[in-house]
Symmetry: C2
Subunit: 437 residues, 2 copies
């Protein structure tokens, strides 16, 4: 199966992050076979199984969401603007405690619809419920994902072992499944929710399986303070002193409360960070020192976290926030320019989630991309495309999304998910779960 899309602008990394003004792409068996300036030849047009006139739209790399909990998607708007403890204990946990398979499935269907509609091709899911079922649904929907069964260790040794067994079994079953569209990780929830011995068991399994580890890190000031009280060290120093940082590949979520030495540790051990600026603001967690991390060569991806703390899964808004917030806080308008925000949301994310040959539009790379229609008033005049993508675009400008050459959305119509049914069911299950509380 080959597709040729012509008369498009292309954000390609063929020639070190440049735009082709008016060109075409040829996709063969899910892979970019050719990315070129100008018009395709008669032969190329004839050879392609499908020829699409892009009408001047923009072909851009699909967006990669490096931290989330799609299983929580029924919680959008269920509770906002409360103190963190009250929000968690009185609102989030009681609702999550009632999530059954049907409700979680509905939540994740909704999440996939929203992600595809806003140009996301690849995402990370860290959650404890019904991961096998979600992996199957992702396979069917055609998305790309890195999945993990999250583990909280504040329980008995037996329960810890049970969780780890479940996590390992899930990771083995689904690693490189769905033609490698699914990758897996192991996921101890956080240093403050996992005793050292439990983390050690997880690290050992990660080494055995050659899998990376995803973990929440230093999200709030209170969490860090209490961790220091309990373990005498900042959570990152704690992991280092236990010898864990050197033993595995780490992707941390948040990393808000880190000082220079901590950033040096991240750089030294090549640990990545999922920067989740909107969630960090909305929950009052703070602002992660991303400019400093970039300066020291730490690899940063962007994540939305769940809709309970965002409240969308819109990576365009996440890019925009990442580009805005650090300029404002440091009072320095040159920090995180548009192209850096795009790189974090595409190439970096793909590398951190370990999806090889994705995240860029390049010959030989997997054809994960979105198509942006730049005709809306808020995208005029046609000046700088990178600027428009980060500072002006909206998810409503995304018209098409492909993963590995297969269309998941065409002209704003979803092809692999029954959107109306999903929205209906999300509301049904939201009302049902609420009624249990």
């Amino acid at each position: 199966m080959s597709i040729l899309i012509h008369t498009v602008s292309i954000r390609t990394d063929e020639k070190s992050f440049n735009w082709i003004e008016d060109g075409y792409v040829i996709i063969n068996e899910g892979v970019f076979k050719k990315i070129a300036d100008g018009k395709p030849s008669e032969e190329e047009l004839t050879e392609a199984d499908e020829v699409i006139n892009g009408c001047g739209k923009w072909v851009c790399p699909g967006l990669v969401n490096t931290h989330g909990h799609a299983g929580m998607s029924l919680l959008r708007g269920y509770s906002d603007d409360l103190p963190l403890d009250q929000w968690l204990k009185e609102k989030m946990w009681p609702f999550e405690g009632k999530l059954d398979l049907e409700a979680t499935k509905a939540a994740r269907g909704l999440a996939m619809v929203e992600m595809i509609r806003s140009g996301t091709t690849t995402f990370l899911e860290m959650y404890h419920l019904f991961m096998h079922e979600f992996a199957q649904d992702i396979t069917d929907a055609g998305m790309r994902a890195t999945l993990m069964r999250s583990m909280i260790g504040l329980c008995s040794k037996e329960e810890q072992k049970e969780k780890l067994l479940e996590a390992v079994e899930f990771a083995k079953t689904w690693h490189k499944a769905a033609d490698s569209r699914i990758q897996t990780m192991l996921a101890p929830h956080a240093p403050y929710t996992c005793p050292p011995e439990f983390i050690e068991m997880i690290v050992e399994e990660a080494i055995k399986l050659d899998l990376p580890i995803h973990m929440h890190l230093a999200e709030t000031r209170k969490e860090v303070r209490e961790h220091i009280q309990q373990y005498h060290h900042h959570p990152l120093e704690h992991l280092e002193k236990l010898g864990f940082l050197s033993e595995a590949r780490w992707l941390f979520a948040h990393g808000v409360h880190l000082n220079e030495e901590h950033i040096d540790l991240l750089a030294e051990y090549k640990a990545g960070i999922s920067h989740n600026p909107i969630s960090n603001l909305k929950l009052g967690s703070g602002v992660a020192p991303i400019a400093e991390m970039l300066q020291k060569g730490v690899k940063i991806g962007l994540g939305t976290d769940s809709v309970a703390s965002n409240n969308t899964l819109d990576m365009i808004e996440e890019m925009r926030m990442a580009a805005f917030i650090h300029k404002g806080i440091a009072e320095d308008p040159i920090l995180i320019p548009a192209e850096v925000a795009i790189k974090m949301a595409t190439k970096n994310g793909a590398e951190l989630l370990e999806h090889e040959k994705t995240g860029e539009i390049k010959t030989g790379y997997k054809a994960d991309f979105m198509i942006i229609d730049s005709h809306a008033a808020h995208m005029q005049p046609a000046s700088n495309r990178d600027s428009h993508i980060v500072y002006a675009a909206k998810s409503s400008d995304v018209t098409d999304v492909y993963v590995e050459g297969l269309p998941l959305m065409r002209n704003k119509e979803l092809l692999t998910l029954d959107e109306e049914k999903i929205k209906f069911e999300a509301n049904e299950h939201y009302q049902r779960v609420r009624s249990y509380i």
Copy 2:
């Protein structure tokens, strides 16, 4: 002319900021005649000149943008991510210096399209070019606006007088014009660009005309530092010591670098603030102490500033940022809850721009409103509408916009502006002006 819109949720201020779940509104001669729960009577349906089935959409107050320069709208994406001085001197000013009537008109047409599409009914324009022509275009487009000829006083006394004469003549001509849809103000650009004697002349005219004064204030740290070097006082103290604060009604834009005493001054003199959080972040200006201002009773509206520093005129995004940023900076998730962000973007803005009986959906108020379609995936499940408007909605959810009972957009079609022509001309003039530099 009367319109009845039924089967809608209504964000009404009839009963202290509540939602009517399923109700109807009757608009007569541009004014809300009735806002009611349930279904209209047969008599009401028969009496209305037009009956619209709202299909469960949300009728919400139109958004009010309290600071902007629509005349700069061709500058979207022209330059970003540069140091402020270089951005202004090498990019903004040379381009603005070449703006002629046609280019400015195209810019403002584009701005009006974008504002209507994102639910804005009322806005402020502070600019020095072609204000009469814009006032006429706004009259024709049916929007509501508060307009002023901005004045920079770094010039000869003769030029100052000329500018003031022009500003006063404009203010007189258009005040309460277009059935009071247009209000005017006087606008000394900023304390650092207007010598005290010039501000004094402007204040005197404002008193004579009973008009408020709009002025940039304490936007950047550098500006405040240099002002103190020159005048020995912070710009706000400077205005107070000169006796100006007590003499007129003030609406300041930005107010980023203010301490507690300055906030006390704002409260004492009932001066308002246009909070422009996105522009303040993008230009690296900082974060205004809005939570502190609200606590002391300072009236806050929200503004986008121009697309050169935003890069949109989308008040939904501005509400969202206002709700996010202060939580994050203060590490306090209860600051600026959704309903406060909405109030700033509607009622407060209307009061600050002195458009009486607008900004709320209330019997006897002018029928300025937007209709939101909540069917998109990112608005599910149907939980909390205020939360969804601030934390999840996008301008693409706005389907209809009315000002004083007249539709400016219906089912996403603009009725008073030729959108395609405007977008075409914006691009033409952008290319033309660029070629002069």
